[in-house]
């Protein structure tokens, strides 16, 4: 009888472990694991102006691992680890891969009066495009203005952000934040914090169309090159019109957005400016066509002006994979430099990936 009981107990324990039900005894359970996903972007590119391996390649553009979970009754957490080719530093050629902690945020679920609080490392809300993950871009890369003015390594910072919805007849939200000030746009030697705000407003024009208008302000102690030396004050404005045909599942849709950055630095010989306009149209349930134009002035040195244009066709047979073909041209205004680029980008997402905001 005793042997029977021991055998029965052992079988019961084995069965419960096999079912993953007995974390009390084993200390092992996946019941509270975060939602985990991975997005990988690959890019093949050919340039007519710079036939080097640096500019002509097929490579992993970026891979992001995202973890999302409820922490406790008071917080939710998001962490994004990004793997990408190493950035060049101080004129040295880059080799290998780098890993960045792109996001690590705690978002409060217990703030009073409808306020939002985010702590940790987050995208600074300067306009709409700078807060997108790379796989959300309408084109293979960020617009030139974003790369050259905000920094091509992204505008993520450690600090705190408070959001408030304003009691207006339309959707209106203000975000204010204070951060460490160590992004590329800021002076790495100056330890003064940076701060800023973003005000976004959205109107439902019809059941199918919306118009969003936003304004951004960013102030910090630094600049990353001589034209942005001294105290930096950056203004941004963004406007987006979106249309999604209701009554048609995965039917026609369109989006046009315009965004401008207007930095003002104390000691600059000429303040750079930049703007871009991007448009996308879904011509079929799986197919998007896009076009974009952008311009930056007085970037790096006074008088260095550039334009860019892009055309892209994207095939997205599901929410979880897409293939894009793109042609871009970047030209120096009143200068000799120009570059025609042909690119193919493909991406996939696996796992439980959180839904994107509008």
């Amino acid at each position: 009888m005793k042997r029977f009981l021991i055998t029965a107990a052992a079988l019961a324990l084995t069965a419960s472990i096999a079912a993953g039900a007995s974390s009390t005894a084993t200390g092992v359970s996946n019941a509270m694991n975060p939602a985990i996903s991975l997005n990988a972007l690959f890019l093949g590119q050919w340039n007519d102006d710079t036939p080097t391996a640096h500019e002509n390649f097929v490579k992993l553009q970026e891979a992001e691992i995202q973890l999302t979970s409820v922490v406790d009754p008071f917080w939710t957490a998001d962490v994004v680890l990004a793997f990408h080719p190493a950035h060049a530093h101080d004129g040295e050629e880059a080799h290998g891969m780098e890993t960045d902690l792109e996001l690590a945020t705690l978002t409060s679920t217990a703030m009073p009066a409808g306020l939002g609080l985010t702590l940790g490392r987050f995208y600074l809300p300067v306009g709409r495009h700078a807060v997108l993950h790379t796989h959300q871009y309408g084109f293979s890369r960020a617009p030139l203005a974003q790369q050259l003015i905000l920094g091509d390594h992204g505008l993520t910072e450690i600090g705190a952000k408070v959001d408030a919805t304003l009691p207006l007849p339309w959707w209106s939200e203000v975000a204010v934040y204070g951060v460490n000030g160590d992004a590329e746009i800021f002076d790495a030697e100056d330890r003064s914090p940076a701060y800023g705000a973003h005000w976004s407003n959205l109107w439902d024009l019809t059941d199918d169309a919306t118009f969003e208008l936003g304004g951004s302000y960013l102030a910090g102690p630094a600049a990353r090159h001589e034209d942005l030396a001294g105290e930096l004050n950056l203004l941004g404005v963004d406007a987006t019109w979106k249309w999604v045909a209701s009554g048609r599942s995965q039917g026609p849709a369109a989006e046009v957005s315009v965004e401008a950055y207007l930095p003002d630095a104390d000691n600059a010989a000429a303040d750079p400016t930049g703007w871009f306009a991007l448009g996308q149209y879904r011509v079929h349930r799986d197919w998007w066509l896009g076009a974009g134009y952008g311009r930056v002035n007085d970037v790096e040195v006074a008088g260095a002006d550039w334009t860019e244009w892009h055309a892209a066709a994207t095939y997205a047979p599901s929410h979880f994979s897409s293939l894009r073909a793109e042609v871009s041209r970047i030209e120096e205004i009143d200068g000799a430099a120009s570059d025609l680029r042909v690119a193919v980008q493909w991406n996939f997402t696996i796992g439980s990936h959180p839904a994107h905001l509008y």
Partner: protein, 307 residues
């Protein structure tokens, strides 16, 4: 003082207006919104996030919808991950603790069901398309399920607003009573359709055909959310020709052109059906919705020359 007094009066009036509005209910779909209005009556104020003419899989998560959620006392949603692409960011954006997951104002209506169809096995993956891992979420097209949902709604509304709990229960019972009469009528009327076969565009209609006992031989969009391959469509066409007496069924928001071409190749009638209250003008209530669906299926059965 002259300026301040009218402002104070206006504020008081606004406060009084909002205080008299009753329980503020936000429903994700028009069918749940219609049911909430039936159960809640004059004691609730109902807002709907996804209009009846829009596919609830793909609603854009507009911040203006979060604004509605921000004022809600009760959120009623379909569940089974129907709204997974847009409801979670809206709840986050709304920053309303009353409707956060686990709060009393958070009601997953699928918890009222006694049977969930098409629950995938352990081997389910996205190779099978945009499947719902918790099962087919389109139970709104089975009136028997909606009776259970109405009762669950009444119970939750009663918890949030005990003063009117008896009214909510009475209205849910009235809905159940009305459904009992209509169920017999619909189940009798559908008899000619049972004699033939059905080809669905999407699995939207799984609960409907299960309830009515219709014979479904396949789906055009066999992997949900993914455009059907020409080879699969050809197989469905050939099978339809073999079987004969086929009706092709698609929702108003489906890719009707694909469904129509398939129906033409089979030589079958196409029934374009409203899949939710408000999907078409004049379909303003749940009973009208099912009336319309049954009538169109019966009409299509007449076209195919069935009994």
């Amino acid at each position: 003082m002259k300026r301040i007094t009218p402002m104070i009066l206006a504020a008081l009036l606004l406060g009084a207006a909002s205080a008299s509005a009753g329980l503020k209910v936000v429903a994700t779909t028009s069918d749940l919104g219609n049911l909430a209005a039936l159960v809640g009556g004059e004691d609730v104020e109902v807002s709907i996030l996804c209009p009846g003419d829009s596919d609830p899989h793909y609603l854009p998560a507009k911040p203006s919808l979060a604004r509605k959620l921000g004022k809600a006392d009760l959120l009623v949603y379909n569940g089974l991950e129907l709204e997974v692409a847009w409801l979670p960011p809206l709840i986050t954006k709304a920053r309303n603790p009353k409707v956060r997951p686990g709060a009393k104002g958070d009601l997953d209506c699928s918890t009222a069901l006694t049977e969930i169809l098409d629950v995938p096995g352990r081997g389910a993956d996205r190779g099978q398309g945009d499947i719902h891992p918790l099962g087919n979420p389109h139970y709104n097209l089975d009136p028997r399920a909606m009776v259970l949902v109405a009762q669950r709604m009444a119970a939750r509304m009663g918890e949030l607003d005990p003063d009117h709990a008896a009214d909510y229960a009475r209205r849910a019972d009235a809905f159940a009573q009305a459904m009992r009469g209509k169920l017999r009528e619909w189940e009798t009327a559908i008899a000619p359709v049972r004699a033939g076969h059905i080809l669905l565009y999407h699995q939207t209609w799984t609960y409907l055909v299960h309830w009515l006992g219709l014979d479904v031989y396949g789906e055009i969009e066999h992997r949900p959310g993914i455009a059907p391959s020409p080879k699969h469509v050809q197989q469905m066409v050939e099978r339809g020709r073999e079987l004969g007496d086929v009706i092709v069924v698609a929702a108003t928001w489906s890719h009707i052109d694909v469904a129509r071409r398939t129906a033409e190749r089979i030589g079958a009638p196409l029934a374009v059906l409203p899949a939710a209250t408000g999907a078409e003008d004049g379909i303003d209530g749940y009973i009208q919705l099912i009336d319309t669906i049954v009538a169109r299926l019966v009409a299509a059965a007449g076209e195919r020359g069935g009994p």
